[in-house]
């Protein structure tokens, strides 16, 4: 194999994240040209900003990958009800830790992106819904908002205009389901975060207080600032068509150098990420599996091959390492890039234990509103736990699969899929491991306890 050069990061969002001279205070942000894009945006018409964002093709960075400009277009402007903007900073998909970096290290970038977005959609008020475990993050954001208000970048009569928009930091309380946008809205209304059924409750029409609401991820809102800086058209040329801009990939698990890396979409493959960027696997180990987009995304087995036709007609025949890191690549391989959380597992991992670990997460986090998810996630936890405790039965793989299949598509929100997909994909790809558990119930000596 010809040794290629290590692909180079292109840091747009994380440009200053690891600069030892850069601080999260406004003076530093202004020194680096901060809030210039807010000033530029306020000279434009709100709908022109929306057009730039639409043209940029920027897709949501929270997990679903829906084009942000399109989401904004769906806003119900005819009702005359106030419009709200919410930043989803609940970052809770296992394997994801990108928003943490932005919030703690460059909060003004987020605030600038948010105030541009708020002006573009003419929001009456904006909220940052931040997970409560980010104690310091919430304090940093509150301080940054105060700093921005003093300079007229936020709050009353922004930049001397007639547009006012207050920005409020709202802390969650440790529930994963609050990352689901309608659950988040319920939570922000002071209720249990039971997701709402769509239709009719599309946030852009019936969101916070039944008013039109836009919920965007932290990274997406930061991108809005950069779209204004680079221009919608030029931004759409970064990365690949339909996969524009950069993405922050968070790599965790069994690699030498886990961490967060920002690349142009499609600039590298999963193999280059694991072996070149992250330094490869630990000594003496080999790749067993990768979860490419947070724990809800379907797992990939190291020796799998994928072939077919991409949307643009080009044929592909990939191994796991050839999958391009963008939105469409993982999708073509039957999984998803989700929130960008790549979890790498080497050959030491007991896959049944890994499954049990994931099932315990979803069982803990199900909101309990829909029976298939509430009961099913508990059963999946119970079965896999029993398997790991020495009570595995030959028929367990089929039993697990039947439970997962009865959750998918039968719940109000996508949590049902998030809970079912791991089990479905683990059984499809590692069935032999589940069947073997009945014959060899002991954990491998080299394997860590995962449940």
């Amino acid at each position: 194999m010809i040794k290629k050069n290590t692909p180079k990061e292109r840091r747009i969002i994380l440009k200053h994240a690891d600069d030892p001279k850069y601080s999260n205070r406004i003076d530093c942000y202004l020194r680096e040209g901060g809030y210039a894009m807010l000033k530029k945006s306020f000279k434009m018409k709100p709908e022109e900003i929306g057009e730039e964002v639409l043209q940029s093709g920027v897709r949501g960075r929270g997990g679903a990958g829906f084009p942000a400009g399109m989401k904004w277009k769906f806003l119900d402007r005819k009702s005359g009800k106030p419009i709200y903007l919410i930043c989803n900073a609940d970052e809770s998909e296992p394997g994801t830790f990108k928003d943490r970096q932005i919030i703690h290290k460059d909060p003004h970038q987020l605030i600038e992106g948010m105030m541009i977005a708020a002006f573009a959609i003419q929001a009456k008020q904006a909220f940052i819904y931040i997970r409560a475990e980010f104690f310091e993050g919430a304090k940093i954001l509150e301080r940054a908002i105060e700093e921005a208000k003093k300079k007229g970048f936020c709050g009353d009569k922004i930049l001397g205009s007639n547009y006012s928009c207050d920005l409020v930091v709202h802390r969650g309380a440790g529930a994963y389901i609050c990352g689901e946008e309608t659950g988040l809205i319920e939570s922000l209304e002071g209720k249990r975060p039971n997701p709402r059924i769509k239709p009719p409750y599309f946030p852009a029409v019936l969101g916070l207080y039944q008013c039109p609401t836009i919920v965007n991820n932290v990274e997406t809102l930061c991108n809005v600032k950069h779209v204004m800086e680079i221009g919608g058209k030029a931004f759409s040329e970064i990365g690949k068509p339909n996969n524009t801009g950069t993405r922050i990939w968070c790599v965790s698990g069994h690699v030498k150098k886990p961490g967060y890396y920002e690349f142009e979409c499609g600039a590298l493959t999963l193999g280059e990420m694991i072996y070149d960027v992250c330094g490869g696997l630990l000594p003496g180990r080999s790749l067993q599996a990768v979860i490419p987009g947070g724990s809800s995304s379907k797992i990939l087995r190291a020796d799998e091959r994928f072939s077919g036709k991409l949307k643009d007609g080009t044929e592909f025949d990939w191994g796991v390492e050839d999958i391009p890191l963008d939105f469409d690549g993982p999708m073509a391989a039957g999984t998803m890039s989700g929130s960008g959380g790549i979890i790498v597992m080497d050959d030491s991992v007991d896959m049944v234990e890994a499954m049990a670990n994931i099932n315990a997460f979803y069982a803990h986090e199900s909101c309990g509103q829909c029976t298939p998810c509430r009961e099913g996630s508990l059963w999946m936890r119970k079965i896999t736990k029993r398997m790991c405790d020495g009570g595995a039965r030959e028929e367990d793989a089929d039993l697990l699969l039947s439970v997962a299949n009865q959750i998918e598509g039968r719940t109000i929100c996508a949590f049902g899929e998030a809970a079912a997909w791991p089990t479905q994909s683990f059984i499809a790809k590692f069935r032999d491991h589940f069947e073997d558990k009945a014959k060899n119930p002991e954990r491998k000596k080299s394997s860590l306890q995962l449940i």
Partner: protein, 189 residues
């Protein structure tokens, strides 16, 4: 219920930030929980009156959200991440090491009320696992051995001044760079 004037003032400032009073519930609960450690029935009733809702509307939040408490945690509360990326790097052993050193089972408060330990779901710092939080500070790459050292320092009251353990929050570049000034003051009493 005896709340400090400072907390009451903060509560009164928070409510008008929201278009509807009820939205302030979680933020008020956090403030009160920070001061008195938990939200009991009396606190639920107090908040409900403040927000013009029924006590059950507050109680149903306390019983749902994992970080809200009907009974207080210990004076020092430790959280260890249990979820897959941390587990792949040994968080089960980390948690067991802390259980042994601190003399408390995960999910429990030590009998003397000094320490409590929680083996909880993803803390969103997966690249630096196993992750351990001590109150509001996040410590990274805490394997079982380091967890023992961390617990030793904590038991001696020397963790905050330790050079071996610099938390994620302390390591942030700040205008005021001294470690002492970044240290978060635990408001639990």
């Amino acid at each position: 219920m005896n709340l400090s004037e400072d907390t009451i003032e903060q509560i009164d400032q928070i409510i008008p930030k929201y278009p509807e009073k009820r939205s302030a519930a979680l933020m008020i609960i956090h403030l009160i929980q920070d001061e008195i450690g938990a939200i009991d029935l009396e606190a639920c009733e107090w908040i409900a009156e403040k927000l013009e809702v029924q006590p059950i509307n507050i109680q149903e939040l306390i019983t749902f959200y994992p970080m809200l408490r009907e009974k207080p945690w210990g004076k020092k509360h430790l959280r260890v991440c249990r979820t897959l990326p941390c587990a792949l790097r040994g968080s089960y052993a980390t948690c067991q090491s802390l259980e042994k050193k601190l003399g408390v089972k995960e999910g429990h408060v030590r009998d003397d009320g000094e320490y409590s330990l929680e083996f909880m779901e993803c803390l969103a710092d997966c690249g630096e696992g196993p992750v351990v939080m001590v109150d509001e500070q996040t410590y990274e790459n805490v394997d079982a051995e380091k967890a023992g050292l961390l617990a030793d320092l904590l038991l001696k009251g020397k963790l905050d001044d330790s050079k071996k353990f610099i938390s994620y929050e302390q390591a942030l570049v700040s205008e005021s760079k001294t470690k002492a000034s970044v240290k978060s003051k635990s408001s639990k009493k």
